[in-house]
Symmetry: C2
Subunit: 198 residues, 2 copies
């Protein structure tokens, strides 16, 4: 059993943040060092610009940290980020399997690359290739029992950690965060709302 207990504190160890946290009058956190730097810049920013830059900078730092965290986490479980994504994708696919091409497409990875990822995962016994008898051009990648166990353990642990990371935020604040992120995604991708009021 490879899933020895791993504690969050263990992995957050070398997550560093260079700014200086402070609380503003509204009770919200801000980075006082960064705000100072913005204020003393040659070209001072407008109010709107300041808000946007502060928010997006905080977001970028958060992004970097979560990425580091996930990277180390995957590594501790013998996975790279790409292989982890493959596993997660397969875990949420019907029958835990997908044709390689479709997998590549969903993961936004070149076909050349998916071969290598699956090769590696197959070597590790987490995934197996299955031929499609109906269309013999197709090869499915399917989670093995071991792969399923691995991903289940990681999901449980991931859930636990996410709760710890989200500590201190009300459910209201979490909803706001979700909304803001999705709005940013909408702006970045050009994709827009297709459904309403569910």
């Amino acid at each position: 059993m490879k899933h020895f207990t791993m504690h969050f504190s263990e992995i957050k160890g070398d997550c560093r943040f260079n700014g200086t946290l402070a609380t503003d009058r509204a009770g919200r956190l801000y980075d006082s060092r960064f705000r100072q730097a913005i204020r003393s810049a040659r070209r001072p920013l407008s109010e709107r610009e300041t808000r946007a830059v502060e928010a997006l900078t905080a977001l970028r730092i958060t992004a970097r940290l979560t990425r580091q965290l996930m990277d180390r986490w995957a590594e501790k479980h013998g996975l790279s980020e790409g292989r982890l994504h493959v596993l997660f994708r397969l875990a949420s696919a019907p029958d835990h399997q997908l044709p390689l091409g479709e997998l590549a497409d969903q993961l936004e990875v070149t076909p050349r690359n998916i071969t290598g990822l699956i090769d590696h995962l197959e070597r590790d016994g987490l995934v197996e290739r299955i031929d499609d008898p109906a269309d013999r051009r197709l090869t499915y990648a399917r989670l093995t029992a071991a792969g399923g166990r691995r991903i289940d353990g990681m999901r449980a642990q991931g859930l636990e950690w996410q709760l710890k990371i989200a500590a201190g935020l009300s459910t209201e604040e979490l909803d706001q965060l979700r909304h803001a992120c999705l709005q940013l995604i909408e702006n970045m991708t050009g994709k827009s709302v297709t459904e309403k009021s569910a």
Copy 2:
């Protein structure tokens, strides 16, 4: 002049998002496909868990997209992510220079690595090495005029893009986003507030 105008739409081109955006009763965006997947999972999540996971998943996707964006952006300007960070760091340092060791420390990069980054930047004429006559063990990396110009152009463009990406969010929402991100950072790093009410 290398800074030919580059449009946001040009680079956001291949930013994809696999989910399905929808608006909930509170007027907030959510990913209906993802919510569906959570609901039909074998082990259903509690309300709190659902909120946390939805928010952090949206955050991760945002993180991935911004990263892609920055990567491509840096590349278009002939930089890697690491070299871009070096340049930004130097730009905000006094006299646009820093000892290599300190630079490595602030960027959380090994000393071995900083050598290569500076080598490359020096080859490109964006940074130069300066010996410290006072302590001849020290070498400073200093932004050249060309480097300064490059980074100034990128800053202007970065500001412009950030405003576009933040479109549709009120300043209130941006402040909430900043707060939430910093709270997450606090939880991930263990660093806590040192100043108050500024």
